[in-house]
């Protein structure tokens, strides 16, 4: 029998246990269930779940070596559980943060008040690779820029949640949230029902409502599409899944043309006008006439149509500036500036390498710090100090000195852990949390999100491209018997 009675959190904050063998309040039923399973049953269920994911073709493409091969996104059967009181804080914190970042985007592309008030230095904005001059003076439909966000949160040893990264461009992973949930319901139906887990399934409905809200008011039944780079993109499954769940067209750049001031799809019956696109293509590739001229994935002329208000794009081009990793350090001030409130969710303390003093500190302490490039994602362009070699540190030292604007550093956080299947046992593995936020008529936070887990023992890197997997995330309803 696999027993979790001997499970040891080893001094880390554990999402399911308060101490060795003692489950947290909301995790009791789950732990009892796992403890009661016959020998090897848990591993068998894990194998079945993986086979199911492969059969359903829930795979991503691997970049780099073995180009074109598909893998299932590794998945661990033991869920992460978030009690209601923690969730309340996350939800209100995210709403506050996304609201403020949206105000920020509108401001810096228009009045630039925040720059004039010297809260954020102007050169920092103008020097960012993700700042889009093309968007200056523009207000997107309904004044919304960041329609879909996936904010990365981590929990430190002290049990506090911190924002690690804002992802305001094309955050992916929400389809795994929905699929993981489906698998878990099949695997632990009784525990699932008794634990009172909040549902996540309404996400595609909310996403569609948000997209409809963006359509020009004169259009009665707007045509909506999901714009994908195509089947070789690592998130293709998600694009296809979301368009299927929303009942909208999945289009590639080659399916769209600009004609007569509108964007149209090429159909078997001729051209059909498109009103809203949920685009999963980075700004750079969106329009070869406006951005990268060599892009064949995008739609020539779409930016002109967008700026004339004849098509809505989610997310708006230009949102990347708000998730520049250097600008990230200013987000608490940005929140304060636009809402008058302190940020509910704190940032991880961040050293900005363009500042001479902070850079000197970073270069002295590379061994303890995590260093990140301003515009990289997916766990690339990153140095985890405590796990690095002297040679890697030397390389990063050179990079930082050569281009200080492009780097930040943060103390290494001991990410919280969740019991995870490892071989024929259960061991703690580090996790983060990416909840998904939709900004339409109001701001909606999906109760749950993607729990990414670093499957390698001791590793702190949770990205799927770097050996990470995912878990289902159970946000519990408020406790009925609390009072």
């Amino acid at each position: 029998m696999v027993s979790m009675n001997t499970y040891d959190p080893e001094g880390f904050y554990d999402e399911l246990f308060t101490a060795g063998g003692v489950p947290r309040h909301g995790a009791k039923l789950l732990v009892e269930k796992i403890n009661s399973l016959p020998q090897d049953d848990l591993f068998l269920r894990q194998k079945e779940a993986e086979a199911l994911l492969l059969k359903m073709g829930i795979t991503f493409n691997v970049y780099g070596k073995d180009e074109g091969t598909e893998k299932i996104f590794p998945f661990d059967l033991i869920p992460r559980i978030i009690p209601d009181e923690d969730w309340q804080q996350i939800e209100s914190g995210l709403k506050q943060r996304i609201y403020a970042l949206n105000e920020f985007l509108q401001d810096i592309y228009n009045d630039k008040k925040i720059v004039r008030d010297k809260v954020v230095p102007e050169d920092l904005i103008l020097s960012s690779q993700t700042y889009r001059k093309e968007c200056e003076g523009f207000t997107p439909p309904k004044g919304i820029w960041c329609h879909v966000t996936g904010t990365d949160l981590i929990r430190d040893r002290d049990g506090r949640f911190y924002v690690l990264e804002d992802n305001l461009r094309c955050p992916s992973g929400v389809s795994y949230v929905l699929e993981n949930r489906m698998v878990l319901k099949r695997t632990f139906p009784a525990v699932f029902a008794a634990s009172r887990v909040r549902p996540v399934d309404e996400y595609p409905v909310k996403l569609r409502e948000m997209l409809e809200y963006l359509a020009p008011q004169t259009v009665e039944n707007p045509t909506i599409g999901v714009l994908t780079p195509g089947i070789y993109n690592s998130a293709y499954f998600e694009h296809s899944f979301l368009s299927q769940q929303m009942g909208v067209e999945l289009v590639e750049g080659q399916d769209l043309v600009v004609d007569d001031g509108h964007v149209h799809m090429l159909t078997t019956k001729g051209l059909r006008k498109v009103d809203v696109l949920y685009r999963r293509l980075d700004d750079d590739f969106l329009d070869p006439l406006a951005f990268r001229p060599e892009s064949v994935l995008g739609v020539p002329g779409i930016m002109e149509v967008y700026k004339s208000g004849r098509i809505a794009l989610a997310n708006a081009p230009g949102t990347g500036i708000a998730d520049d990793k250097v600008l990230y350090a200013y987000v608490p001030q940005i929140v304060k500036y636009y809402t008058g409130e302190d940020a509910i969710l704190p940032n991880v303390p961040t050293y900005i390498c363009r500042d001479d003093k902070e850079r000197a500190y970073v270069l002295e302490h590379l061994e303890e710090l995590v260093v990140k490039a301003a515009n990289e994602s997916g766990g690339y362009g990153m140095l985890v100090g405590p796990h690095s070699t002297a040679q890697q540190r030397e390389e990063f030292k050179k990079k930082i000195v050569a281009n200080p604007r492009n780097y930040i550093a943060q103390p290494t956080i001991s990410l919280s852990r969740v019991p995870t299947i490892a071989g024929k046992g259960i061991e703690g593995r580090h996790v983060d949390l990416r909840p998904y936020v939709l900004f339409g008529e109001d701001i909606y936070v999906q109760p749950g999100g993607l729990t990414r887990v670093a499957l390698k023992k001791g590793s702190l890197v949770v990205n799927s491209s770097q050996g990470g997997g995912s878990k289902d995330t159970w946000v519990l309803f408020p406790d009925e018997n609390k009072d």
Partner: protein
């Protein structure tokens, strides 16, 4: 619907139909081999001939023995019409339109592909080929059944079915052409005594033996050609396939005004030929010449489906690509 999507679903079905025909033909031949005691070359070369790809095969410098032919037709990824290549291509098409097809259909096709890709599937094919090719046949049939029962019979489904019917008509014509040529090289022999085992295998290559028996008393080459070309009800006869393809086209165009449409014109003419010709006329013309002409017509229909639905040239489109 999107032109790209229509194109993908059309080809998805053509590829599966192609894979099924290869599998059936191999299966029948394996069975036939058990009743024969002549050299193997003359058994395995016609199988490659029906694919129309002898040149590709011979370029590889392989002999026409069982193992080489089976590997080529089943697993060779360099050969675009091998069963594995076809199923992989069908699945690749399906992957790009999985929001359009039903999840059941997608999962089935994905599993079909994953199983063929397994290392031990080659061993399975060599150890128990009868069973192996039977499984392929059944998976293709399950594919069609799932498509009919889990997908709405709207535009996408009609494109799918049209693709399958055109592919099937082409394959039936090739089987008949090659076998007729081999078994009956001279027209005068039409009424000479025939090798029943061989002719029954022609019918079986189109899953047609039992159904043939229900409509015709005797097994004759002429009767077989008549059945496979002109029978109105048998699902693999050329006449039936063309009629069904025409229906699909009408459904896609949402009107029976087929003739004004370029594809409608071509399909209509071919249908009229099949409606008003009979087997005596065909034999007089020469079966091979007739079937050859038919294949050219089917190719032309396919080309026109491409230009009128899949690759619509749009002026803004071409201009912007030139910039």
């Amino acid at each position: 619907m999107l032109s790209r999507v229509a194109n993908s679903i059309y080809w998805m079905c053509r590829y599966i139909e192609r894979a099924e025909n290869v599998a059936r033909f191999i299966g029948v031949n394996l069975n036939l081999l058990l009743d024969m005691n002549s050299g193997t070359e003359q058994h395995w070369s016609p199988i490659v001939m029906t694919t129309g790809d002898q040149e590709l095969y011979e370029k590889k410098g392989q002999a026409y023995d069982e193992a080489s032919v089976l590997w080529f037709l089943t697993f060779d990824r360099e050969y675009p019409n091998s069963i594995l290549s076809c199923v992989a291509a069908a699945r690749e098409n399906a992957r790009s339109i999985r929001e359009i097809i039903s999840p059941e259909l997608w999962e089935h096709l994905n599993q079909f592909y994953l199983d063929l890709m397994r290392e031990d599937s080659i061993r399975f094919a060599l150890q128990d080929p009868q069973k192996f090719y039977h499984v392929i046949l059944m998976r293709s049939n399950l594919f069609i059944g799932l498509m009919n029962n889990t997908m709405s019979h709207g535009e996408a489904w009609n494109f799918a079915r049209m693709g399958r019917m055109i592919e099937r008509a082409d394959k039936t014509s090739r089987i008949l052409d090659v076998k007729y040529f081999m078994l009956l090289p001279e027209v005068e022999l039409v009424n000479a005594p025939i090798d029943y085992v061989q002719w029954i295998s022609v019918l079986r290559s189109a899953s047609a033996f039992e159904m043939y028996r229900q409509t015709k008393q005797t097994i004759t080459p002429k009767g077989i050609a008549d059945f496979l070309i002109f029978d109105e009800h048998f699902p693999r006869s050329i006449h039936h396939c063309v009629t069904q393809a025409q229906k699909c086209l009408y459904n896609i165009l949402e009107s029976p005004k087929g003739p004004v449409h370029p594809v409608g014109k071509l399909l209509g003419r071919l249908r009229a030929d099949l409606d008003y010709m009979d087997i005596d006329e065909v034999l007089e013309l020469g079966l091979h010449e007739f079937l050859d002409g038919l294949q050219v017509k089917l190719n032309n229909i396919d080309l026109n489906i491409g230009t009128s639905f899949f690759n619509i040239q749009h002026h803004a489109f071409s201009e912007s690509r030139q910039q």
